[in-house]
Amino acid sequence: MSTNRQAASTSKWRAPLIFAVLAVLFILEGTVRNAMFSGSWNTSLGILNMGLISAITALGVNMQWGYAGLFNVGVVGFLALGGLAPVLVSTQPVAGAWQAGGARVLFALAVGLGTLALAIQAWKRLRSGRGLAVLAILIAGFVIYRWLFDPAVQAIESNSPARHGNIGGLGLPVLLSWVVGGVFAAAAAWGVGKVALGLRSDYLAIATLGIGEIIVAVLKNEDWLARGVKNVTAIPRPVPYEIELQQNPDFQSFANSLSMSTAEASGVWVKICYMSLFLVVLLAIILLAELALKSPWGRMMRAIRDNEVAAEAMGKDVTARHLQVFILGSAVIGVAGAMMITQDGLMAPVGYQPLRYTFLIWVMVVVGGSGNNWGAVLGAVLIWFLWIKAEVWGPALIALLTSPLPDGGLKAHLMDSAAHMRFIAMGLVLLLVLRFAPRGLVPEE
């Protein structure tokens, strides 16, 4: 019903142009040293790598929102769940942890899930008195679960608590954990989707908001799983360590030939390795997504997003489709979460803040142009670049703004608060981009 939804076609060159601008920004960041840029390839590539991870996250969100209009406000949770995978898959096994209670924990979890399944079945099958029956099943299940679970957890957690106290990993290659991260997130999405999809759409909002909080809370508090807030460090890498490179004579001469210091060269090299890995994942996901989007599948999704009632009447199983994209999108987010933890080498659940991992990702998707994969990628890399640079640009901006002021209390106060300019700068950028490209940098065609 909107009059002005004119097919205001955007130029074909827009996306390549913005990509070029971004590339220039990163090159400047890598080469030029001044108040604005750092002139270090390490910084530049470091930002780019995290930008690529954000881009994959944004792709996941874009699948859910852009293709299907599903509002996921629990991005942080799926990211965190993905991040659990490297810990469980690739860190070294903890001696004695499994013996202490690994099997019992698994069994307890199975009992827990079984209880839920049983309760659901009972609810569906029974006619009379099902409320009571379900309640009885749940209570009995909960008691058995806690009876099995608590001692096992205690045993695991008291297994050298200062260094471990967790169940440990399997010692498998860390790249495998990226897939597993996706699977974890997909499984959670399946559960959430089963409950919330097909009902009113605010259910999804609240369910995702909830699952986000719940997953982070579990990661923080279940020490046996990933040491909780005590953090897991030294997660293995799929790429070489800088220190090793620095000690490698071949690499030293290689660095010399580039007239870089070994330390710098090793940093750059490692980051390029990461970048290649991330790019492969990113491009593979985009390729698959684009293929799907440009087919009847994509058309069907758009139809569903436009008008669910009509789509349903035209024989499309809206709920099933919603579940499908929700799971796919979450899986992609999960992969990104695993990649992020791999790159950080650290699993610190306290870091999973909704502001950073839900809101900022949303900003990326919308700034990029929701519904458009390339847009999401662009938005993600750009916003991440700005988010990092705002740390420097914000205070620079305030210095510039206050330069005409006389020295004194006000100026000092403002300079003192310069760090908060990070927020203001970020806000301004966001508003400006939205202002001049209200449908995103690369709108959906």
Binding site: S295, A310, G315
Partner: protein, 260 residues
């Protein structure tokens, strides 16, 4: 074909459909008329699975289809249009039609990665079919317009067009005529008859235009206050005192004031 038994649908205390029983015969074009608020659209929505009934049953070909979701009914060949058009606003008119047929290869996500050729062939065929339908509805020139930008009547046509994209068994039309140009409505009427004769579609049509009903429908069912008031051929119905009083009326009273 479709049998409705003692169907009730209440909203709070209000009985929108209040014990309606009717049959729609195979191969018929059944008209459904009745005063505003008689419960016709509500009845449609219950049959089409959009609203759960308060009580009562709906059968299709003897099978109980009460409460099945719309997409399953679609698979059984039951299609419907909406009284207020439900277009896919941000898609083109052609896409609006092409998305309709079910079971497209390209609707399975992993097949879109591996069976490109097959999908392309299907798309070509669908496209052709869509063009035919558009031609028929006189809106071929709008094929690439966004459906949201259509005029009120054009949206109604699109609504009808979608039902022509697949081989339906039974089609429920909720006031296709409202807002459609009468000349075009005539054409639509012809099309309905043709679909009915040539492809054996069964139709159930809600309409307030008595000329249209009269030309097309047999039998005609009259609803009032949630129940079936009368049933019979169009000619009979138009003579029925009760129907005239509740629904048809006796024409303009202020006619004499026209043309001052």
């Amino acid at each position: 074909m479709i049998r409705v038994e003692d169907l009730h649908r209440h909203f709070g205390g209000f009985r929108a459909v209040d014990g309606a029983s009717l049959t729609i015969g195979e191969g018929s074009i059944t008209g459904l008329i009745g005063p505003n608020g008689a419960g016709k659209s509500t009845l449609f929505n219950v049959i089409a699975g959009v609203l759960p009934p308060t009580s009562g049953k709906v059968y299709m070909d003897g099978e109980d289809i009460t409460g099945l979701p719309p997409h399953q009914l679609f698979r059984r060949g039951l299609l419907r249009t909406f009284q207020l058009a439900h277009e896919f606003a941000s898609m083109t008119v052609r896409e609006n039609l092409m998305m309709v047929p079910g079971g497209q290869t390209g609707e399975t996500i992993w097949k879109t990665w591996f069976q490109r050729g097959q999908i392309r062939r299907e798309e070509d065929q669908l496209g052709k079919r869509a063009d035919e339908v558009l031609e028929f509805l006189t809106i071929r020139h709008l094929a690439h317009e966004k459906a949201g930008n259509l005029s009120g009547g054009q949206k109604k046509l699109l609504e009808l067009g979608r039902t022509m994209m697949v081989d339906a068994k039974v089609v429920f039309l909720d006031e296709v005529g409202a807002g459609v140009n009468r000349t075009l409505l005539g054409t639509i009427g012809d099309a309905i008859v043709r679909l009915n004769k040539e492809r054996g579609y069964t139709f159930c049509v809600i309409e307030h235009d008595m000329d249209f009903i009269g030309k097309l429908c047999d039998p005609v069912i009259v609803m009032a206050e949630g129940r079936v008031l009368a049933e019979g051929s169009a000619a009979d119905i138009m003579q029925n005192e009760e129907v005239i009083e509740a629904y048809l009326g006796t024409g303009l009273k202020n006619k004499d004031m026209v043309g001052a």
